[in-house]
Symmetry: C2
Subunit: 403 residues, 2 copies
C-alpha cells in the first residue's frame, strides 16, 4: 500500500480510542458465532460529518443517520449491527431504525438527535427487534475494539488504524475502522467507515474536509463495480484534546489534513486489499492526463475492468486489456503515445509492446501488490485508484452469499 | 431467447449464402488446429453499412474498414482473421491491414476500395504477413460456411442464422454470423458480426437502419463490461434478389426491418448466451420506466452487475442485488413501488420482499435462460438487455488467455 506518512504523525501499534470515546461489541444473535452488534459513545457531543451511498434505494438507517448528522452536525453515539441491512424494508424498516436510535439514546441518557444508526448485511428482511433490544441491553462503555469486528460481513479481517499527532501543543489521537468487502464501488456507495478523534474542529469544517478527502480515497476504490444501499463514512471529533478549534489558516491545519488523509487512505486501501475473494491489491497511478479528474477516471476504469482483474489473478502481463480499459473512457488520450509499467517495468511504449524481461515480469506479478502506472501523454494531471484481482473465490462467495 | 418472428419470415435449417455471395475459411497457421482466416465475396458490389468499436484505441483493420465503407457505402469483399487483432501495432499495423486489403483485391480482381478487413485475437503483436499471404492464396469462392468458425476466439460454437422472406414478390435471403465472447459490452465495442443479403437497398438507408437496430440489439448485451479495440458489425446487400430498391414508404419495408431485427437480435443474444464461461443466458425486461432510454439503461445495469451475475450462477433469487443495480443508475425510479419477477414469479412488490414458493423459484432458476422483469412504476418506457452469469469458468478463461 502507498499511504503517505509525515514525520509528525505516529502510527500506534494497537487500536486506541481517542480521549472521551468508549465502545463495545458483542454477539446479539443476529447471526451465529460472530459478533454482530456494537456501538460508539463520546463523553461529550462530537462534531460530526458523514458521506452516504448514492444508491437510490438508500436503507432506513442510512437515511436516518444522514438526516440526523445534517441537522446539527453533531453526534454523541453510533449504534451498529451486521447480518441485516434493514434495507428495502419499507415503513416498518424506518420505524425499526428510529427505534434503534431511541433505545440507544435512552440507555445512554442522551437525546435521540445525537445518535447515528448503521446496519449492514442481508437486504429485504425486517430486523428482529427483540434481538436488537437484548443486544443493546448488554453493550457496555469500554475501551475494547470489539466493534471493529462486529460490523464485518464477508471481510476476512478487521481494518483498523490509530495515529497520534500534535495540534497546538496538544496530543491528538485519530482512529478509524471500516468494513468492505463486496459491493465496493464509486461515489461512497460502498461500505461502512468510522473515524473518531479528540481533535477540536467544527462540524461544517469537518464535513467539507471529509467530502474532499473521500473523493481521493474511498471513491477511488472498487471491488466489483456494484454499489450498496447502506454504506457510509462517519467522522466524530469530540474536541477533548483541547486544541484551538481548527481552521484552514492555522499552521497545524495541514497536519490534521495529512492525518485525516492517512486514516481514510489506509482504510480505503485495506478494503480494496480485502475485497471479496481478492488475492492481490492493485494500485493504479495515472500520469500525463489532461487534468486530475480524467486521471482519476482512467485509474478507476483500469482497476474496475473484469478482464484486467482476471489477468492480474493469472499473473499475466496482459497490457492489451489495459489499453482496452483506458480506451473505453472519455478521457483525453494520446492514442499513439501511451506508456504502461507493471511494478516499475516498462511494458508499453508509444502504445505498442515494449521489450521486457519475461522472467523478471513474471516474478514481479507474483507479488501481493501489483502497481500499474500509465502515462497518457496528454497533460499534467495525475490520479490514483485501488482495486483487487478477480478470483474463483469472488464468484464462489457471491454465488453462495444471499445478501 | 426471445427473438420475434413473423409469419412471413422463414428460418432456414442450414446456413445459406444469399444469391451472388461466396465465401471460404481455412487454417492459415496463425494458430494451431483451428481455422483462422476467411473471406466473403459478392459477384457485384454490394451496398454496405457498418458500426464500429467506440474504444479510443481502434485497431488498424477497424479504422481501415470504417474509412472504406464510409467513402462510398459499397463493398464487394471482406477478408478476416482470428488469433491476431492487429491492434496497438502502430504504423506497421496500419500498413499490414492495407496490405491485406490490397492482396485480397488483387486476387479477386476488384478495387481495394471495395474490400473490408476484420481481425480479432491477441493485441499488440504484428501480423505474420507471410502466413496471411499463404492463407489468402488458398482461399476459394465456395458456398461453405467455414468462415463462420474461422473468426471465433474463445467462443464455444459458431453463431449463425439464415432466413428468407419476400420483398416485391422476390425471395430474399438474409444470413448473419458473429463471434463473441469476452470484452462484450456497450456501444458496439464488442465483437464481430456480418450480415449478407441479396435484398436491394441503398447504402445510406442500410446504414441508417443498422445504427438504429444495433442500439436495440448488440448495444444491449454485456458479458463483462469491457469493450475491445477491434469489433464491428458490417452488413452487405448486393441487390441480386431484384426487388425494387427499398425505401421506408414501401409496403414491404417493414418486412425487411423485421427480418433485419430478427437476424441482429438472434446474433446478439447468441453472443450473450455464449459469453465467456457462461452457463445461463440472462434476459432483462424493464417496464414502467420514464422512457425507453431509461428502461434500456436499467436493463443493461442489471445484466452488467457482477453481483447479480454471480447470484444467477448460484441460482440464488438474490433480489437485493437487483435493487442495488437499479438504484445505482440515474433512471427515474419510484423507490417505494418497484416490482421484480424472476421467470414470471413475483419476488419483489412495493420494493419489499414478496411471498413466493421457494421450491418453485429454485427449480425455475435452474433453467438455462433466466428472465428478469422489473417494473419501475415511473412511466410507460420499456427496454431489454441480455447478458450471462459470472462463473468460475469466466475467471479461469481470463486468467489464462493472453489477449
Amino acid at each position: 500500500m502507498t499511504v503517505t506518512t509525515t514525520k509528525n504523525i505516529t502510527t500506534l501499534a494497537t487500536y486506541t480510542w481517542p480521549q472521551g470515546f468508549y465502545s463495545d461489541g458483542l454477539n446479539a444473535g443476529l447471526r451465529e458465532g460472530k459478533k454482530d452488534m456494537g456501538w460508539l459513545y463520546s463523553e461529550v457531543p462530537a462534531a460530526a460529518a458523514g458521506v452516504y451511498t448514492t444508491n437510490q434505494f438508500q436503507a432506513a438507517p442510512t437515511k436516518l443517520t444522514k438526516q440526523t448528522i445534517e441537522a446539527t452536525h453533531h453526534l454523541q453515539a453510533m449504534i451498529m449491527n451486521s447480518a441485516n441491512a434493514n434495507s428495502c424494508t419499507g415503513v416498518q424498516g424506518a420505524q425499526n431504525a428510529a427505534l434503534m436510535q431511541a433505545w440507544t439514546a435512552q440507555k445512554l441518557g442522551i437525546a435521540p438527535e445525537l445518535v447515528g444508526v448503521a446496519s449492514t448485511g442481508i437486504i429485504g428482511e425486517q430486523l428482529p427487534m427483540g434481538v436488537i433490544e437484548a443486544g443493546l441491553d448488554h453493550l457496555q462503555l469500554t475501551k475494547n475494539d470489539a466493534v471493529t469486528t462486529a460490523i464485518l460481513t464477508t471481510d476476512l479481517h478487521p481494518k483498523t488504524i490509530s495515529i497520534q499527532f500534535e495540534l497546538d501543543g496538544q496530543t491528538v489521537t485519530m482512529s478509524g475502522f471500516a468494513k468492505g468487502s463486496g459491493m465496493i464501488h464509486p461515489n461512497m456507495a460502498t461500505m461502512l467507515g468510522f473515524v473518531t478523534t479528540d481533535a477540536q474542529i467544527t462540524g461544517d469544517q469537518l464535513q467539507k474536509l471529509l467530502s474532499q478527502e473521500v473523493d481521493e480515497t474511498f471513491n477511488q476504490i472498487t471491488v466489483d463495480g456494484d454499489t450498496s444501499t447502506n454504506d457510509m463514512v462517519v467522522v466524530l471529533a469530540n474536541g477533548m484534546a483541547n486544541n484551538q478549534t481548527l481552521t484552514p489558516d492555522q499552521e497545524d491545519y495541514d497536519t490534521f489534513v495529512a492525518a485525516f488523509h492517512q486514516v481514510l487512505s489506509f482504510l480505503a486501501q485495506s478494503i480494496a486489499q480485502d475485497g471479496e475473494g481478492a488475492s492481490k491489491l492493485v494500485e493504479t497511478d495515472v500520469i500525463g492526463a489532461l487534468n486530475h479528474d480524467e486521471a482519476q477516471m482512467v485509474a478507476k476504469a483500469i482497476v474496475g475492468s473484469n478482464l484486467v482483474k482476471a489477468a492480474i489473478f493469472g499473473e499475466d502481463p496482459n497490457w492489451g486489456r489495459l489499453m482496452g480499459a483506458i480506451g473505453q473512457t472519455d478521457a483525453h488520450v494520446d492514442v499513439d503515445h501511451v506508456s504502461i509499467w507493471f511494478n516499475g517495468l516498462l511494458i508499453v511504449k508509444n502504445s505498442q509492446a515494449a521489450l521486457f524481461d519475461a522472467a523478471e515480469m513474471k516474478a514481479s506479478l507474483g507479488e501481493s501488490v501489483v502497481k500499474i502506472k500509465v502515462d497518457l501523454n496528454s497533460g499534467e494531471g495525475t490520479g490514483q485508484a485501488w482495486g483487487c484481482d478477480l478470483t474463483y473465490q469472488y464468484v464462489k462467495i457471491n454465488a453462495a452469499y444471499h445478501s
